[in-house]
Amino acid sequence: MESRLPTSRLKPLPGMPRATGEHPDLRDVGQALGELRLLQQLNQAIIANLPSGIAVLDQDGRLLYFNGTFGRMWDLDLAALGKHLAEVAGDGPLSRINWRGEVARLIEGGQALPGNLLEAGERPSRRVIRYGLFSLPPTDFDLPRRLVGDEFCLGFLSQHECIGDCQECCAHTATWQGDHALLLVEDITDQRQLEAQLTQSEKLAALGQLSAGVAHEIRNPLSAIYNAAFYIADVLSDEEPDVGELQEYVALIQRNVDRAQRTVTNILNFARPSGPDRTTADLSDLVEQTLAILDKALVDQGVALERHLRSGVMVRCRPETVKQALLNLIVNALQAMPEGGTLIVATAREDGDFPSVLVTDTGSGIAAGDLSRIFNPFYSTKPAGQGTGLGLSIARQAIEADGGRLDVASELGRGTTFEMALPAAH
């Protein structure tokens, strides 16, 4: 390699003043070079320290450049340069994409393809990434890559002083012509795991709230069955048993087996891990299924339940998640009415693109100053051990993930209304 200086025409960057005839002062050139060097260093420091993986792909989907984070993410070394990304990405999420096609689509469309989620690999090393692909301005000159530590530096001005034939940079001068795309990758596996754990712990919290109700709903029928069976056996042990009224106790047993069975089914429906898939569901069914496991708790607390549910209002959502969120709203409402009151659950009168359900209580209400905080994780006014403060934050996050909204209106001393809106299914 004879020279490190650019041999090709340098195009001015957009917005750069074009020299109009007069020669720039050499002092200015020196200063401009100094500034460029500084910017280069700044750029390098940012790239090296970003938690995101950065790579540049050529129009065939080959790796032209990657930063240290990207290399560590996919276990890449220098040998990966110039290879197709899908080839070097193992069985991780990146191998599932036809990068050549993606880059072509990007260049044709001229628009960024951001925010795609990918999940792949076998557990436990299964990983979830978010990636975005962005187009870079086409170039018609070559750009050297230099290796400094485990980072490449791009460009002639990088701080690493090359003596002209070093192994690192000179060996890696890339052909950097034509169209390229910038690939940004974030590994969100840990974040996903944390979210899943939170959802799980919230489920447990909700079930904890319900355990009194569950015990009641299982043990009462069980106890009645026990007694009835004992009674039947006792009567049959008589010398001349009067079997006439035993029929009634057999029916009682059947009735109570059904009831316990229903309770168990309800709990199982609830505890079932929520699938990631959205489906079309009837909003009022979701509400009914949630109320089904709470009925007894309502009565126990002297809370009257008013339902104003229109069936046939169809929404797109993950039903388990929505029921979970509804359960949290209703448990909160019950907790706000320790002395009893009225719980009103209603589908909104008008649907539009976002049909909604309103959960209203006549409980303590929330002070205006606290309204903005109730959705914060771990914000709770409940005694330690009773509230984790996660119910609302998880509910809102889950509903928003489904493209919906969760809002609140409240008046201190009067009561509170939560409105959960979900995208309509068309």
């Binding site: 015990a215 009645a224 007694n227 009835a228 009674y231 106790y249 009682l252």
Partner: protein, 126 residues
């Protein structure tokens, strides 16, 4: 078996009715009330030796009902029978004068024996 009168109070009618059926086999007179108010109304008409009270009931819980019944009938012996036992309610019930604290489901023989022994005590020292 000692004679006497028992009041069963439970907001779960199926449960209360089976308890009554079992005890009535011992030729004990047993009344059933499906709510605390109902129980108080019946206690105005009748004197009871033993009351079997559910703990969680709408309106008024078993402990508060125990006190209310005792106001009119101080020698009433009380068995608490609950589907949701807790150390706290157990301690409170026993220190406030309940004779027994049983969990649902409770073996019918045990319940019967408990009632028989309380009826025997009650006939000795009214």
């Amino acid at each position: 078996m000692a004679d006497g009168r028992v009041l069963v109070v439970d907001d779960e009618p199926d449960h209360g009715l089976t308890v009554r059926a079992i005890l009535a086999r011992d030729a004990v007179a047993v009344d059933f009330a499906a709510s605390p108010e109902d129980a108080l109304a019946q206690a105005c008409q009748q004197t009871y030796d033993v009351a079997i009270l559910d703990l969680r009931m709408p309106g008024r819980d078993g402990l508060s009902l125990m006190h209310a019944l005792r106001r009119g009938q101080p020698s009433l012996r009380v068995i608490i029978l609950t589907a949701y036992p807790s150390p706290t309610t157990c301690r409170t019930a026993l220190t406030e004068g309940a004779s027994a604290y049983l969990e649902k489901p409770c073996a019918p023989e045990a319940l019967r024996a408990m009632v028989a022994s309380l009826l025997a005590q009650s006939s000795k020292s009214p």
